[in-house]
C-alpha cells in the first residue's frame, strides 16, 4: 500500500523570506505600528541589556541620597530621573523593571497559551463529554474576575516573581481555550483533516500537525493582547503589595512606593507610570495591527 502525503493548509502561500519582507513593508506603512515597534524594541533592549545600560545598581540603598530630584549629580554620578525614598536610582530601576514586566508578560502567556491551546484542541476535536467538562471549567473560571482571582491566590501564596507568573498563567488560559476550540470546530470537518483521518493518521498527529499550524493566527493575536494585560496585572498586583517583593525593581512596585510622595517627589511615580502606559499601548497597537494583518479580508487594505 502506498503512503499518501497530506500537506497541511498553508498559512500563506508565500515563501518565508518573502513573507517576512511583506510583513515588514506592511508594518512600515502604519506609523502607529512602526512607533510601537520602536518602543517595544527599546523596552526589550532595556530588559536584555539592563546590567550594561543601568547607570547604578537598582537595589543599592544610599540613604544619604534619598529623594534627590531628576538630574541630580554628585561624586557617584548623575541621577537622570532622581532617586527614591531609599536613595536608589529611579532610571536604573525603570530599566531593570522592564525585565520584570516583560518576563511576567511573556512567561505567563506561554503558560496560559499552552494550557489554553491544549484544552481548546481536545475540547474542539473530541467534543462530547470532554468538551462539556472543559467548557464548564472555562465557565467557572470566567465567572471570577481574573485580577480578583489572582489577587486572592497571591494573598495566600505570598509575593514572588515565580508565583506571580504561575498565577497569571493559570488564570489566563480560558480565552485561548475558547478561541482554539472554535477554530478546531470549524476546521475538523475540512477536507485536509478528513483526508488525514482517511489515511490513518493518528489523532495526536492530526491535532498537532494538521490542525494546530492552521490556528496560530488568532492565537498570536490573543497572545499579544494578553502580554499587555499581564503587564498591567503585574503592575496592579505589585502596586497592591502582592506582586513581586519590594526588593525586586518593578514598575508596579515603584508606583506603589512612590504614591505616598506624589505631592513632594512626583519623579518617583511619573516615569514608572509612563513606562507602563507606553509599553502596554505599544503592545496593544501592534496586536491590533497584527490582527488586521492576519485577517484575510483586510489583506489588501493594509
Amino acid at each position: 500500500m502506498s503512503s499518501i502525503e497530506i500537506a497541511p493548509k498553508a498559512l500563506s502561500e508565500a515563501k518565508p523570506a518573502g513573507r517576512k519582507r511583506q510583513l515588514l513593508s506592511r508594518l512600515l506603512r502604519s506609523k502607529a505600528a512602526t512607533i510601537s515597534l520602536v518602543i517595544l524594541i527599546i523596552v526589550l533592549v532595556a530588559a536584555i541589556a539592563a546590567p550594561w545600560l543601568a547607570p547604578h545598581d537598582p537595589n543599592a540603598n544610599k540613604l544619604i541620597l534619598r529623594l534627590k530630584p531628576p538630574m541630580f549629580h554628585n561624586s557617584s554620578g548623575l541621577y537622570i530621573l532622581g532617586t527614591d525614598a531609599l536613595g536608589r536610582d529611579v532610571l536604573s530601576r525603570i530599566i531593570y523593571g522592564a525585565r520584570v514586566s516583560l518576563t511576567v508578560g511573556v512567561a505567563a502567556v506561554v503558560i496560559s497559551g499552552t494550557i489554553g491551546i491544549l484544552v481548546g484542541l481536545l475540547s474542539g476535536y473530541f467534543g462530547g463529554k470532554v468538551d462539556d467538562v472543559f467548557m464548564r471549567i472555562c465557565d467557572v473560571q470566567l465567572s471570577f474576575p481574573t485580577i480578583l482571582l489572582a489577587l486572592t491566590i497571591m494573598a495566600v501564596l505570598g509575593s514572588g516573581l515565580d508565583k506571580l507568573i504561575l498565577v497569571l498563567g493559570l488564570t489566563g488560559w480560558v480565552q485561548y481555550g475558547r478561541i482554539v476550540r472554535s477554530q478546531v470546530l470549524s476546521l475538523k470537518h475540512d477536507e485536509f483533516v478528513l483526508a488525514a483521518r482517511a489515511a490513518g493518521e493518528r489523532q495526536w498527529r492530526i491535532l498537532f500537525q494538521q490542525i494546530l499550524p492552521n490556528i496560530w493566527s488568532p492565537v498570536i493575536v490573543v497572545g499579544s493582547f494578553t502580554i499587555a494585560s499581564n503587564i498591567v496585572s503585574e503592575a496592579s498586583l505589585s502596586f497592591l503589595g502582592v506582586g513581586v517583593p519590594p526588593t525586586i525593581p518593578s514598575w508596579g512596585t515603584m508606583l506603589s512606593d512612590g504614591r505616598e510622595y506624589i505631592g513632594v517627589a512626583d519623579w518617583l511615580t511619573i516615569p514608572a507610570g509612563i513606562a507602563i502606559s507606553l509599553t502596554v499601548l505599544a503592545i496593544n497597537i501592534l496586536g491590533d495591527w497584527l490582527r488586521d494583518y492576519l485577517d484575510p479580508r483586510l489583506k489588501n487594505i493594509l
Partner: protein
C-alpha cells in the same frame, strides 16, 4: 417713630444674619471627629481582639488604666490592698454603670476574670499577653463592691498588669443573654465612649457616654475610620475629611503643614526591633550570629536619614526612666560582625554569602507594611546591611497591618526567621522585660534562656523596691549581650490633626479617646 416695611425687613434680615453667625460654631462643633486607623477590627470583644486597641480602650474600661503621663491610676477600682503576697483586695467605685445601665459591681469583676480564665484555658481569645503578665488564680466576691484576687505568683506590680484592655470589665447580664457574635459586634463597656455602629469601610461610630465615671467626654461624636493606605490618609487630612492621623511620614511633614494640617511630633515609647525566630532557624540560636547581625546594622544612619534624627537608637528593651544608660547599643561595626561570623565557622562562599557545613547563612524576612513608620523601607535597608557582611535574605515578604496583628497576637505564629515588631511602653522594668520572658505573650522570637529566667523570676517577685534598679540594670545588660533581637530604636510619632481639633498626644501613642480628644472648635 414709625418704621417703614423696608426698614423692618432690613432689621429682620440683619437679625437673622447675626443669629446664623451665632449658631454657626455650634453647628461646626457637632460634626463628628474623624480619626483614621489602619486596620479593620475583627470585633470589639476585648478578650478576642487586641489589634484595634485604640477603639477598645475607648469603649471599655479596666480596673486600672494609664493616664496621659503614663502613670497607673485607678479606673473602675477605687483602691487595692495587699492582704499577703498572693492575695489582693480590690474595692470598686460605687455608683458606676455600663453603657446599657447594668451596674458595675463585684459580680462583673468576678465574671470578667472567670471568663478570661476559661477562654485562656480553652486556647480561645487573644489573652496570651494579658494573662501572661497578670498571673491570677481566681477572683472571689466578698460583697457587692469588694473582690479578692488570688494570685498564682507574687506580683509587686499588679496594678500595671491590670491596665491591659484584654481584661476590661464586662457586663455579666449582657454577656449572659447575648451570643459571642452579638457581644463582639454590639459591645457594651464602661469606657468614655458608647458603641453606636460599625460597618467595614465606613468605620466605627462612637458617642460620648454621659454617665462615664470622669464625666461626659468633651467631644460628643467620633468616627474611627479605617484607611489602610498612608497616601490616602494624607489625602483625607488635606481634604479636611479627617481630623486625626497617626504616623505622618517624616518626609511629608512639611507638605502636610503647608496644606493647613497641624503636625505634632510627640515623644514615643514604642520600641522597634527585629525578632529573630530562633526556634525556626538553627543559625539564629547562636549568640555570635545574633550579635554579628546587630553589629552589621547602621541604626544611626537609619535614624538620621529616614527619620530626620527623630528616632533614637538604643538597646530598647526597657523604657525611660527604667532603662540603664550604661547599656549601650551595638555600634555599627561590620568588621566586628565578619570576625564573629568567621570565628564560629560561617565563611564567605563564592557569591559572598557565608556558609557552614554546606548550609548558607540565609534567612526569610517578614516585614510589616504600614504598621510602623517606614517599616518596609527600614527592612529593605537592613537587607543591604546584612548582605555587606555575607548574610543573605532569601525571601522578603511584606505583611499587611491586619495580618501582622493577628500573627503577633499568637506569639508570632506564621512569621518566619526574621520579623519586624514593636513593643509599647509598660512603664515598669518588669513589664518591659516580658518582651523576652519565655512564657510571655510578647516573646515572639522563641528565645529561652535559663539564666535570664532565673533573674526575671527573682525580680518579678521582689517587693523591695530599693532593689529594683540594680535588678533591672543587670537584666538589661545580660539581655543586650545575648541579643535575642536586632535592637533598633524608639520611633517618633507624628500626629496630623485638623485645625479644629484640640488633641493631646500620649507617649504610648494610644487613643483613650476621652483623654486625648480635648475638644473641637469652629474652623
Amino acid at each position: 417713630m414709625k418704621l417703614t416695611n423696608a426698614v423692618r425687613i432690613s432689621i429682620l434680615a440683619l437679625g437673622l444674619a447675626i443669629g446664623t453667625l451665632a449658631v454657626a460654631p455650634a453647628f461646626a462643633d457637632s460634626r463628628p471627629v474623624v480619626v483614621l486607623d489602619k486596620a479593620e477590627p475583627d470585633g470589639f470583644d476585648p478578650m478576642y481582639d487586641s489589634s484595634n486597641v485604640n477603639v477598645m480602650l475607648s469603649i471599655h474600661e479596666g480596673l486600672f488604666r494609664l493616664d496621659n503621663d503614663g502613670n497607673v491610676v485607678p479606673a473602675i477600682a477605687e483602691s487595692i490592698k495587699e492582704v499577703d503576697p498572693l492575695t489582693w483586695d480590690i474595692k470598686i467605685r460605687p455608683g458606676l454603670v455600663f453603657h446599657n445601665g447594668e451596674p458595675i459591681n463585684a459580680d462583673a469583676v468576678v465574671f470578667t476574670f472567670d471568663r478570661a480564665t476559661k477562654l485562656f484555658a480553652a486556647g480561645q481569645g487573644d489573652l496570651n499577653f494579658a494573662l501572661g503578665a497578670l498571673r491570677y488564680d481566681h477572683a472571689e466576691k466578698l460583697d457587692d463592691l469588694d473582690v479578692r484576687l488570688h494570685m498564682q505568683v507574687p506580683d509587686p506590680i499588679i496594678t500595671s498588669h491590670m491596665v491591659n484592655p484584654e481584661i476590661s470589665i464586662l457586663p455579666p447580664i449582657y454577656y449572659g443573654t447575648h451570643t459571642e457574635d452579638q457581644v463582639a459586634f454590639a459591645p457594651v463597656g464602661a469606657g468614655g465612649y458608647e458603641f453606636v455602629s460599625y460597618k467595614p469601610g465606613e468605620g466605627t461610630v462612637l458617642k460620648a457616654f454621659d454617665k462615664y465615671r470622669l464625666g461626659k467626654p468633651p467631644v460628643e461624636n467620633v468616627i474611627v475610620k479605617v484607611v489602610p493606605d498612608v497616601a490616602t490618609q494624607i489625602g483625607e487630612m488635606k481634604a479636611g475629611t479627617a481630623d486625626l492621623m497617626v504616623g505622618v511620614p517624616v518626609d511629608l511633614k512639611a507638605d502636610l503643614e503647608n496644606s493647613g494640617v497641624n503636625v505634632t511630633v510627640a515623644p514615643s515609647y514604642r520600641r522597634l526591633f527585629i525578632n529573630l525566630k530562633q526556634g525556626r532557624n538553627p543559625a539564629l540560636a547562636d549568640v555570635s550570629v545574633r550579635q554579628a547581625m546587630n553589629y552589621a546594622v547602621n541604626c544611626d544612619e537609619i535614624a538620621t536619614e529616614l527619620f530626620g534624627g527623630m528616632a533614637k537608637c538604643s538597646i530598647d528593651l526597657v523604657n525611660s526612666p527604667n532603662n540603664d544608660p550604661n547599656v549601650k547599643p551595638y555600634p555599627y561595626d561590620p568588621e566586628k560582625a565578619k570576625q564573629l561570623l568567621d570565628a564560629v565557622g560561617w565563611v564567605p562562599g563564592p557569591d559572598g554569602v557565608r556558609a557552614k557545613d554546606g548550609v548558607r547563612l540565609s534567612f526569610d524576612f517578614d516585614t510589616t507594611d504600614g504598621s510602623y513608620l517606614m517599616d518596609k523601607e527600614v527592612a529593605q535597608v537592613m537587607v543591604d546591611y546584612w548582605k555587606d557582611v555575607g548574610i543573605e535574605i532569601k525571601d522578603f515578604r511584606t505583611i499587611s497591618p491586619e495580618v501582622s496583628a493577628q500573627m503577633r497576637a499568637k506569639q508570632g505564629a506564621g512569621f518566619r526567621d526574621l520579623m519586624n515588631s514593636s513593643s509599647g511602653p509598660d512603664y515598669t522594668c518588669q513589664g518591659d522585660l516580658l518582651l523576652v520572658e519565655k512564657d510571655s505573650g510578647s516573646n515572639r522570637m522563641s528565645w529561652s534562656d535559663d539564666k535570664f529566667e532565673a533573674m526575671f523570676k527573682a525580680f518579678s517577685e521582689e517587693f523591695d523596691q530599693s532593689k529594683w534598679p540594680a535588678m533591672c540594670s543587670e537584666a538589661q545588660a545580660y539581655v543586650a549581650e545575648q541579643a535575642p533581637v536586632i535592637w533598633m530604636f524608639t520611633e517618633p510619632t507624628l500626629y496630623g490633626t485638623s485645625k479644629r481639633l484640640d488633641y493631646q498626644p500620649r507617649p504610648d501613642g494610644r487613643f483613650y479617646l476621652n483623654l486625648v480628644l480635648k475638644g473641637v472648635s469652629d474652623q
